[in-house]
């Protein structure tokens, strides 16, 4: 039993720190830390910096041009990147579609798409969810009908994260109506410039635009854009779901959030005293601190298992649940710390050049509301409990 990183792992961490120190643009880090929206060019810039270093495709094997990191290296990189305020690398092309192509794609598809993902030529978004089919993918209704060398796609996708920045979307579509609902699903690559596609923004609870609806009306998709076999989409989707999910516990985000809240609680004044001197607030914070320290170890334990078995265990659902609960608790503490000053609409939090809340916390309430999503998407915490009950407890 040894919780310490090896010499080699420590050296790697040093290397990552040095890289972030030198290469992460300060103006991007500031935005990330304050929870402000990143522009597409912010993200492109950061992707390019990572790509130049060979670290963009952090989950790719060496054969495909990845750095060949194991779970521990990936963990170290993510932890350090979060701590430094680096933007999250968009997973849709790099961590999702790329793995589908490596496993199910043709050589041509791999050769065509993978470099474009690395270079940022293609920005992918994900077309899984539909209105009325969130966690229940088997009830998909978007259809793709084969005619000659193309499919005709009709239907609607939703919750398409950052679709506004993308030029391509990978979709699950229904290619067969009879038989079991899972059996008639295919995995299709669609150019968002195709005629018949309309993307509409969805405004979220706190007022931001990060997800979209995508409408397909008689959209023609070349048959060569099918990945895998027709009606193999369910298998592909399951592969992606059970495929290693990196940083599912979101430790890095939580560590950063904890440090921010702690600093805030030492700054905010309630009457003559610091907020941290209020025992009720300090107790809330200390409770989350202990939970977070425990989760770090839980995460390492499961990483260590994954390292050994080459596959993450079913326990990743546990990380998802605890990880989201802890992050949400920290977002909750940040808004609480501000009292009434958490109230102004984010855009108004600087009123006439007057600070109402400290600038890096002006979005505290917005972030709290926005992050209610993290216990819902990617399989809600209720779904995760169902999975754990069945798979680990065998109930």
């Amino acid at each position: 039993m040894d919780l310490n990183f090896t010499e080699q792992e420590l050296a790697f961490r040093e290397e990552v720190r040095r890289f972030l120190d030198e290469k992460l643009p300060a103006e991007i880090a500031d935005k990330v830390i304050a929870g402000r929206e990143l522009t597409k060019s912010d993200m492109e810039r950061w992707h390019a910096i990572l790509n130049a270093r060979g670290w963009l495709a952090s989950t790719w094997p060496v054969d495909f041009g990845g750095p060949g990191w194991g779970p521990v290296e990936r963990h170290i990189f993510e932890e350090e990147a979060c701590r430094a305020g680096a933007p999250r690398v968009l997973p849709f092309g790099l961590h999702m579609l790329a793995h589908v192509l490596m496993k199910f794609g043709t050589k041509e598809q791999q050769d065509h798409y993978l470099p474009r993902i690395l270079e940022g030529t293609d920005w992918w978004c994900q077309g899984y969810s539909e209105p009325g089919a969130g966690s229940d993918l088997a009830s998909l209704r978007t259809t793709a009908v084969r005619g000659g060398d193309a499919y005709l796609v009709n239907g609607q996708k939703t919750w398409t994260t950052l679709g506004q920045h993308a030029n391509r979307i990978f979709c699950l579509v229904r290619t067969k109506k009879d038989g079991k609902p899972q059996e008639g699903i295919s995995f299709l690559l669609v150019d968002l410039d195709s005629p018949g596609i309309e993307m509409r923004p969805i405004r979220l609870i706190e007022g931001g635009h990060e997800v979209n609806e995508v409408f397909f009306t008689d959209v023609r998709v070349p048959a060569e854009n099918l990945v895998g076999d027709e009606n193999q989409g369910w298998t592909i989707a399951k592969y992606l779901l059970t495929h290693e999910r990196t940083n599912i516990a979101g430790i890095g985000f939580s560590v950063q959030a904890f440090e921010q809240v702690k600093a805030l609680a030492r700054t905010v004044k309630r009457g003559g005293k610091r907020l941290i001197d209020d025992p009720l607030y300090a107790a809330r914070l200390a409770r989350v601190e202990a939970e977070l320290e425990a989760l770090k170890i839980t995460n390492l334990r499961m990483l260590s298992n994954a390292q050994k078995n080459g596959q993450p265990g079913l326990e990743s659902s546990m990380l998802k649940i605890k990880g989201t609960v802890i992050r949400q608790a920290l977002n909750d503490l940040a808004r609480r710390a501000l009292g009434p000053a958490a109230g102004p609409f984010p855009a108004e939090a600087l009123a006439g050049n007057l600070e109402i809340a400290p600038p890096e916390h002006a979005r505290a309430a917005a972030r709290y509301f926005n992050n209610r999503k993290i216990s819902i998407f990617g399989g809600s915490n209720e779904i995760q409990r169902n999975i754990l009950s069945k798979s680990m407890l065998e109930l």
Partner: protein, 356 residues
């Protein structure tokens, strides 16, 4: 012992509900509550026309109510309809004007909108932390300090301002034109303002105003509890309906026993929140007003946040959108805890009592 609502109050509630349903439907509210003046002047006049503001004034002073249950009746409807009208500042101003034996006619008719400026950046909730100072030159008072997140301050005709005068706190009447008033909208809708006072001329309304301020604050807290209650009832109904209609894996999601039990717990918590608010409403004129209100605001603060979070979680993504009413109710339910003392602030007051 009688838990029936009186006929008068039931009539007021019904009238108000009908009015707000028309004046403030969800689609309209999602826009107007977020654009200056962050409420609707027409709705405001309409409310006043219904006599809603008179419900805060005792009959002896020309009003129609003035009891805790009157406050509760009005604010349950405000909460149910998620109205962004600045009724809370009007209630608090009414209590202060009554204490000052001032004229309440303009307030009751809705013609004069008042805001109450107590909290400050480093003193959000506790009177003893107030730093704004009043100074007297001959018979003229001036105020210096900053009042923060003054609800309704963005659109008020007069400001009632608490400031320190030597030993104690006094209450002053300030014209917004003489102060630096910087208005803005709130994340849960409605407007507020920062009020910068820099040797701003002011009229003394009450010397030694602690009692009057506490009375106004406690009435405001009761109002917020009732508002939360109305909002929770509505959110509970929306969530129940969703659980019954939304299908997943071939059956309504409400067939999931885990959600059923959570929904039962929510219902139970909401009933407890209702009970403690009823208790507080019944104690507004009694010696234990402060304790009852602290218990109510503490408990409601906790439950309202729980209801907001659970309602979103059970709805799933749909309630995360601006378009869906639950998102707006959830924001209001959470942010109510940020007004006039949060659940921990009021728990601390109860802890003080236990120690004494």
């Amino acid at each position: 012992m009688d838990f029936e609502t009186s006929d008068d109050r039931r009539m007021l509630a019904d009238t108000l509900a009908r009015f707000l349903a028309e004046a403030c439907p969800p689609e309209k509210r999602a826009t107007l509550a977020y654009a200056a003046p962050f409420h609707d002047h027409e709705a405001w006049s309409g409310l006043a026309g219904l006599g809603v503001l008179m419900a805060f004034i005792p009959e002896a002073e020309g009003g129609l109510g003035g009891r805790g249950f009157d406050v509760m009746t009005v604010f349950e409807q405000i909460g149910r309809a998620l109205s962004p009208e600045p009724v809370l500042p009007a209630l608090m101003a009414a209590r202060l004007l009554l204490a000052a034996r001032g004229d309440v006619d303009g307030l009751m008719s809705g013609e004069v909108r008042l805001a109450v400026a107590i909290g400050e950046p480093d003193a959000p909730w506790d009177l003893s932390d107030i730093a704004t100072r009043a100074e007297r030159n001959a018979d003229r008072w001036t105020l210096t300090g900053r009042k923060s997140v003054v609800y309704g301050g963005n659109d008020a005709d007069r400001l009632l301002v608490a400031a320190r005068t030597g030993e104690g706190l006094s209450l002053f009447d300030v014209s917004p034109e003489n102060a630096g008033v910087i208005g803005y909208g709130m994340i849960d809708g409605g407007g507020a303002a920062e009020v910068i006072l820099d040797a701003t001329p002011a009229t003394l309304l009450i010397e030694n105003a602690e009692d009057a301020l506490n009375d106004a604050l406690d009435h405001g807290r009761l109002a917020l509890c009732a508002e939360a209650l109305g909002a929770m009832d509505h959110v509970q109904a929306l969530t129940l309906d969703y659980l019954k209609t939304r299908q997943q894996f071939g059956r309504p999601i409400g067939k999931n026993q885990a959600l059923q039990h959570r929904m039962v717990d929510l219902m139970t918590e909401i009933e407890q929140a209702r009970s403690i608010t009823i208790l507080a409403a019944s104690r507004m004129a009694e010696g234990d007003r402060a304790r009852s209100v602290a218990m109510a605001k503490h408990l409601v603060g906790r439950v309202a946040t729980l209801v907001a979070e659970e309602a979103i979680q059970m709805h799933g993504g749909i309630a995360m959108t601006w378009e869906h009413p639950v998102s707006h109710y959830a924001k209001r339910l959470v942010m109510i805890d940020h007004q006039l003392g949060d659940t921990d602030f009021h728990l601390s007051r109860l802890m003080e009592d236990l120690r004494a």
